[in-house]
Symmetry: C2
Subunit: 342 residues, 2 copies
């Protein structure tokens, strides 16, 4: 067969603050691939269907010598992240043609993968598009589910405060907290998001850009569980308005990813109030909760018992702009990219 | 009987930074008490034997409108804190004459107490002076014991880093960690204290004033358990040199008590390394561990199996200077004041 274009999104250079489409991230359509004859060397050929774009990606846009929990992106190499694809050809008996796989994908249309590694097989769900499997039924959903299960110690009647509550993590946390009988305070950065958070059950939902977080917590708190996706001054406010024995689940600190982390000055509240802060990285909890997650969450999403939203972009060429939208908090929901229909 | 002097130490005024003897704390010998005839109104008369001076007292030297976990000192009123005393007269059948009591004492020679409240009875130990019961066998010892039991999740072969390791809390933590089979790194602020920490079993002991903490942790870490008595830049160093799944026990933050708390900028390490920070206030754990503590620790102190040191001052008039020594880190060991021999 004639080779076809294998478009990619490459990491360009380390951004000073916010990532710049075309500089930090570069759409490149120069590569070709012969889908029938490209050598597999014992591996398999996957067609990328959907890709996830997430806040944490900013942490990988750093100079390679800076250590962190996950490897950096390398200049000139493709970005990568969670995705779903379908196997087109295979020389690996473990990975049959036609299977759907979930795992780390390069941001390109087609990939030749050496080994199954940590790829998981997914079953096509009659009522859920593949995009859901990188969102509410994927890594962000697991982050919410596993983190809540492991750390919240939630008790009926307690008060939870959840930041970025309209995002894929926060919106599931809101719903898990409501299931457990908590009063839920939730914040996000637009009035549309506030409406969505109320729709999914938040008792108190507010736009942190137009409403003072401290005033809300003063009125509605103190808080027993804090789900932190933002860090910075909101974390300080949560510490000041925490209840005795509060549990803080530190999931993200997006306020500091692009412009530097603000120093937190009131950590003494940890002592004064016997607060516990738990750092959450979902992949360290997969072994404990993945089975229960896949057994319960996709079905609840399909039935509508648990709600989700997505901001869907079409085409690899939209990735640079979409990444910037996330870092600026302009996205309206979990951002996913449909690279190809099946 | 002729009234006798009932000397006191009063809280004078809120200090700007370090407490000033004579201004922040005022020795006052103007009050008299008739030990035989002073009305008890159903209460009891206690003679103060020993008093504890502790770092946390700085937090009470604040303006009364500032909220905190414990009430402030009030200008013109006596300081108070843990102490041991003996009952001289009593109209309360629950509190017989001659009993030794442990609890919150005003800093004065004699007190008339309304109700037993949270006072505990102590048995005189043939080999331990009363000073030990406000130190290694008192609140600081319980802080170490209860905190280590509740939060360390210590596993043999792990690495612990313990700050203010020559103090009454830190020195017991060092010995508990060694009992549990951990490698112990310990820091303090003088070479004498370093020697003491080695004597009680620290594998690596250093003077943080002359040795760079980060260099030590780089060489001897990463650390699995961090016992934090200081906060500030040492807490930042510990975060940078923590192992995956490390447990931080936040017991004190003396670096910020007098000159303001420095902002902690690298809390993202919590997420990157799945670290948990536990705020520790011992009185919230009494119900869980007091029984085991009194059953085991005084005996271990008496036999020499667990070692302790004290810096003993004699007389209420020494309290102002001794409090300042603690806040400046100049004390050589747990500071206790002998107010009266029996």
């Amino acid at each position: 067969m004639t080779p076809v274009t294998n478009a990619r999104v490459l990491f360009g250079s380390v951004p000073k603050d916010f990532p710049i489409p075309g500089e930090t991230t570069i759409y490149d359509a120069s590569q070709k691939i012969d889908l029938d004859n490209a050598p597999l060397n014992g591996g398999f050929l996957v067609k990328t269907l959907v890709l996830s774009l997430d806040p944490y990606m900013r942490g990988k846009m750093r100079s390679p010598e800076k250590k962190s929990y996950s490897p950096p992106f390398f200049p000139g190499e493709p970005l990568y992240g969670h995705g779903v694809g379908v196997v087109l050809r295979s020389e690996n008996p473990e990975v049959p043609v036609g299977k759907y796989v979930y795992g780390q994908f390069n941001h390109q249309q087609y990939s030749i993968v050496e080994a199954k590694g940590e790829f998981e097989f997914l079953d096509k769900h009659p009522k859920l598009p593949w995009t859901v499997f990188v969102g509410a039924a994927g890594m962000p959903g697991k982050t919410a589910f596993h983190g809540w299960k492991e750390f919240s110690k939630a008790k009926k009647g307690e008060v939870a405060f959840i930041t970025t509550g309209a995002g894929p993590v926060g919106s599931l946390v809101i719903q898990l907290a409501k299931r457990d009988g908590l009063k839920v305070i939730a914040s996000a950065g637009s009035d549309d998001k506030v409406k969505f958070m109320k729709d999914i059950g938040a008792d108190v939902a507010f736009n942190y850009k137009t409403t003072d977080t401290r005033e809300v917590l003063e009125r509605e708190g103190p808080i027993d569980v804090y789900w932190d996706n933002v860090g910075g001054e909101i974390l300080e406010a949560a510490l000041d308005h925490a209840n005795i024995n509060a549990r803080f689940i530190e999931c993200g600190m997006i306020s500091g990813y692009n412009t530097g982390h603000q120093g937190i000055k009131n950590l003494f509240q940890l002592i004064a109030k016997s607060i516990t802060l738990h750092g959450l990285l979902v992949f360290r909890l997969h072994h404990k909760y993945d089975e229960e997650f896949y057994r319960t969450i996709p079905a609840a999403l399909a039935s509508g018992e648990i709600k989700y939203t997505e901001e869907v972009h079409h085409g690899l060429d939209k990735i640079g702009d979409a990444i910037l939208r996330i870092q600026k908090g302009e996205n309206t929901a979990k951002v996913v990219v449909v690279v190809a229909e099946e």
